[in-house]
Amino acid sequence: MAAAKLEVVRTRQEPESELHAELARKFLYYMGLMREVEDRIERKLYRQGKIVGGVYVGRGQEAIPVGSGLAARPDDVLFPSHRDLALYLIRGLTPGQIFAQYMGRMDGLTAGREGNMHMGDLKKGLVSIISAMAASIPVAAGAAMALKYQGKDNIAWVYFGDGASSRGDWHEGINFATVQKLPLVLLCNNNQYAYSTPLSKQMACANVADRAPGYNMPAEIVDGNDVFAVHEAAQRAAAHARAGLGPYLIECKTFRMTGHSAHDPADYVPKRMFEEWAGMCPIARLEQRMEENGWAAREEIDETRAKIRREADAAIEWAEQSPYPDPSTLLDRVYES
């Protein structure tokens, strides 16, 4: 098995086919929708007091769930982390359900038991995180083991941040998965911070991917703000895992264009980092590429945006109609019956 490839893998400069244009339009839609939904959540609903719990968004990181989520087969199983909203959208959750979830309404995926990204739906192949960072990794390994057990050629995809890679569960899960050669793709969003903690206080190595050889696992590092790059890496990873060759790690270099959560002004981040990375916005980059390659005209892109805004408007309206859970149901669902 190859050691970690430590250079950013370049994507094809000029993909010309209609297939690419088609894909680009999907990318644009889901990235745009994730951005819009999260903007509404973080900058409107939260500030209006309509969301009373924690809010964690993936602004600037949309290429990661979108590029990879569209590389996953619809019957693969996904273990999103807390900045991967697009995975839910790709699997068919409506923005309305997401707003309802954040607002603690019955039409959220958890019927008000949980808030924010703590949601899942087994029928859609979406497993809810628990809050403890990296705890999903052994669980995803177990799901991958089951897929292998059942003789399916599906795979499991698990998402995590740079910070999560410091936890024991990260090690135990990956070690187990590699020993068992499980069909698992590991997707790291390395956004350079864990809450306020920079990489230098999290790890002595330069990249999360540097740890892969210790598990005899291939890894690559990609430009996490290039949705095509993420997509192609995800396809390589999926092919590897699906072929029975074991886990595969993708480290997406990116940046969190916001505080850790809605109440965090992120004063600890040097201003110039925000400035630098603003120029790397994955959505703007995709739009530019679409225009340059003639995949879409400006008007078309603008219309996509407008459509997304209308969707979000309608969804919020819908979600606000959704009832709060009935307190008399408080005790339901602890056990099966």
Binding site: V77, L109, T110, A111, R113, E114, H118, M119, G120, D121, L122, V127, S128, I130, S131, A132, A135, I137, P138, V139, A140, A141, G142, A143, A144, M145, A146, L147, Y149, Q150, A156, G168, D169, E172, G173, N175, F176, V179, Q180, R333, V334, Y335, E336
Partner: protein
């Protein structure tokens, strides 16, 4: 046919694996070695590596992987080599397994088997009775069989249960007791206590290996004309409160007995429920007998002093009988 407690558990798992191809085993040294206590002996040969998964030393991965597999329709039975190491997989149990159904309607049908208890000179890390960590965690079922018959019937129920079950097997019972098991495919329901012995003057509420201590004392007291009823809880959560209260209302006197440390042990819960719900029936204080609040010491004289036994129980029984 006669079977030991360990053999009964082994049979129960074996039968469930035969019955349901989704049942599989995961844990440390459970394959070629057959498990530290030989509960899974012969299973690797019979069921193969696919269904008997030896893992690295990684309790969090074991429990986590079991949870993940259960989401996909499998029914994992995970072994902790000793209950003492369940602390290493703790977060996965109390935060992931226990809460998924409530949070997002995802059942977690896993069994975590945990060989527990003292009396084998295992010292602080091979003797723990730590069930009270889990009885305080909503969403978990906590089962501790005392007899071979119950052990088999309950492990089978645990495997069929659609909620996470922590299944405590008492190490000192594995080879100490031998019983006739019912023929054929039987189960024992989770959540139902058993009247281990009927009596009318006093109730001892207990579970796991302490049932035998209670039995010993009940036999002694019978000669003194005191008739003791023994309630073997078998399941702590969900608790069969009805059986406890019915017994207490009959006898009016009750002692709660367990091997775990006294403070914060499940005995407090039982005593509290009795006091709240059968207060008018009580003819004396609810007493608790449990291990003192220390780790389990290794040296035999210390361990003997530590473990609740007939002598210690007898003293309180006599006191309460005369109350």
């Amino acid at each position: 046919m006669q079977a030991t407690y360990v053999e009964a558990i082994r049979q129960g798992i074996w039968e469930e694996m035969e019955r349901d191809p989704n049942v599989f085993l995961i844990g440390e040294d459970i394959g070629v070695y057959g498990g530290a206590f030989k509960v899974t002996q012969g299973m690797l040969d019979h069921f193969g590596e696919r269904r008997v998964v030896d893992t690295p030393i990684a309790e969090s991965a074991i429990v986590g992987a079991a949870i993940g597999a259960s989401f996909m329709g499998l029914r994992p039975v995970a072994e902790m080599q000793f209950a003492d190491f369940i602390s290493c997989g703790f977060d996965q149990i109390v935060n992931f397994a226990a809460k998924c159904r409530y949070r997002w309607n995802a059942p977690v049908p896993i069994v975590v088997r945990a060989p527990c208890g003292g009396g084998i000179h295992g010292g602080p890390y091979h003797s723990q009775q730590n069930e009270a960590w889990f009885t305080h965690t909503p969403g978990l079922k906590v089962v501790l069989p005392a007899t071979a018959k119950d052990a088999k019937g309950l492990i089978k129920s645990a495997i069929r249960d659609n909620d996470p079950v922590i299944f405590y097997e008492h190490k000192a019972l594995y080879r100490r007791i031998k019983e006739d098991l019912p023929e054929g495919d039987y189960t024992v329901p989770i959540g139902k206590a058993n009247i281990h012995r009927e009596g009318k003057d006093m109730t001892i509420v207990t579970y796991s290996a302490m049932v035998y201590v209670a039995e010993e004392v009940a036999q002694l007291m019978e000669k003194e004309g005191v008739s003791i009823e023994i309630v073997d809880l078998r399941t702590l959560t969900p608790l069969d409160e009805e059986t406890i209260l019915t017994s207490v209302r009959k006898t009016s006197k009750v002692i709660v007995l367990h091997e775990a440390n006294l403070t914060g042990g499940f005995g407090g819960e039982i005593a509290a429920r009795i006091t709240e719900k059968a207060f008018e029936s009580l003819d004396g204080p609810v007493l608790r007998i449990a291990a003192p609040d220390t780790p389990v010491p290794y040296s035999p004289p210390l361990e003997k002093a530590y473990l609740p036994d007939a002598q210690k129980l007898l003293e309180k029984v006599r006191w309460l009988a005369e109350y």
